[in-house]
């Protein structure tokens, strides 16, 4: 009920993804307020989704 994550494993894997693929630093992440981090993760998720759709569309157009 308290937290934004269901377990510690998800916490670390989210941090790892943000650092490895999206250039965040651990210090930056550590000093965010949890709801801020949730917003960044959600925005990033939307951004990646949009990029993937754009990529798919471009690939489909190239095939035609």
């Amino acid at each position: 009920m308290t937290l934004g994550y269901d377990n510690l494993k998800n916490y670390y894997s989210t941090n790892f993804t943000l650092m490895q693929h999206h250039k965040y630093s651990l210090t930056e992440l550590d000093n965010l307020i949890p709801w801020e981090k949730q917003i960044y993760v959600k925005l990033l998720e939307n951004h990646v989704k949009e990029q993937n759709e754009r990529l798919k569309l471009a690939q489909a157009q190239r095939r035609r």
């Binding site: 934004g4 377990n7 307020i33």
Partner: protein, 239 residues
């Protein structure tokens, strides 16, 4: 030249035992990690220690978290949760309403509004309990710092040890006697002289101690029954 400080929003919460509003900042992701670690340890002492540590980190005023009553710790922690993670919490509830002689058993998902948190206070409650016309006791509220005797499970004399753990002072018409200045033997003799009615009056202090509750009505979409949810107790936050 001092290093620049990272600013965080500042919020306020009213604490009943202190009868004042205290300022605090939200907890941060690094502090949320400590809560997750405590949650996964499933160790009560670890969980309580972490809650105290986080309140102490986030509170911007000089308060003694060790002696803060549990109901104030709960109020503080729920407000911290609201401003750090969010105002609602997603929960699930299994409807136990009996329809056609069978329980509904539908799992209802609902968002608990944490802003509905409030103190439940009994009008009859009093920290100062008069035992006779001139003699009485003043109790102190249980805090998250559990007494060692409670942890060791050494209570054998009808709960007097629990009462003495939360006894602040005894008074008579002339003066007050702080518990820390009274020997265990003297205290035991004092309790032995109490009548059942007097012990009952002291025990009433614990029964009517203020608490923090979260109440919400939810309607089961399957059987349309209205459930009145009442959440109480800090450990509910770690389930």
């Amino acid at each position: 030249m001092p290093l620049p400080k990272i600013e965080h929003p500042i919020h306020e919460v009213y604490l009943k035992s202190l009868d004042k509003t205290v300022r605090y900042r939200p907890f941060l992701v690094k502090e949320e990690k400590l809560l997750l670690m405590a949650k996964e340890s499933e160790d009560l002492q670890d969980i309580l220690k972490t809650i105290k540590q986080i309140i102490s980190n986030c509170c911007l005023e000089d308060i003694d978290v060790e002696s803060l009553p549990i109901f104030d710790v709960e109020m503080f922690f729920i407000h911290l949760r609201i401003n750090s993670v969010g105002e609602t919490s997603e929960l699930m509830y299994t409807c136990a309403h009996v329809v056609n002689e069978e329980p509904c058993n539908h799992v209802v998902e609902f968002a608990l509004d944490l802003k509905n948190v409030k103190y439940r206070f009994n009008e009859q409650h009093n920290k100062i309990i008069a035992l006779t016309k001139d003699i009485g006791v003043c109790m102190k509220y249980p805090s998250l710092t559990l007494p060692q005797s409670l942890l060791d499970d050494k209570f054998q004399d009808g709960g007097y040890e629990i009462i003495s753990e939360y006894l602040d002072y005894i008074y008579d018409e002339n003066q007050t006697y702080k518990t820390e200045n009274i020997s265990k033997e003297e205290l035991s003799a004092f309790f032995d002289d109490l009548s059942l009615e007097q012990v009952k009056a002291i025990k009433q202090f614990f029964i009517t101690t203020p608490s923090v509750v979260l109440e919400q009505d939810i309607i089961c979409p399957k059987c349309s029954n209205n459930h009145h949810m009442v959440l109480e107790g800090i450990l509910n936050f770690f389930e």
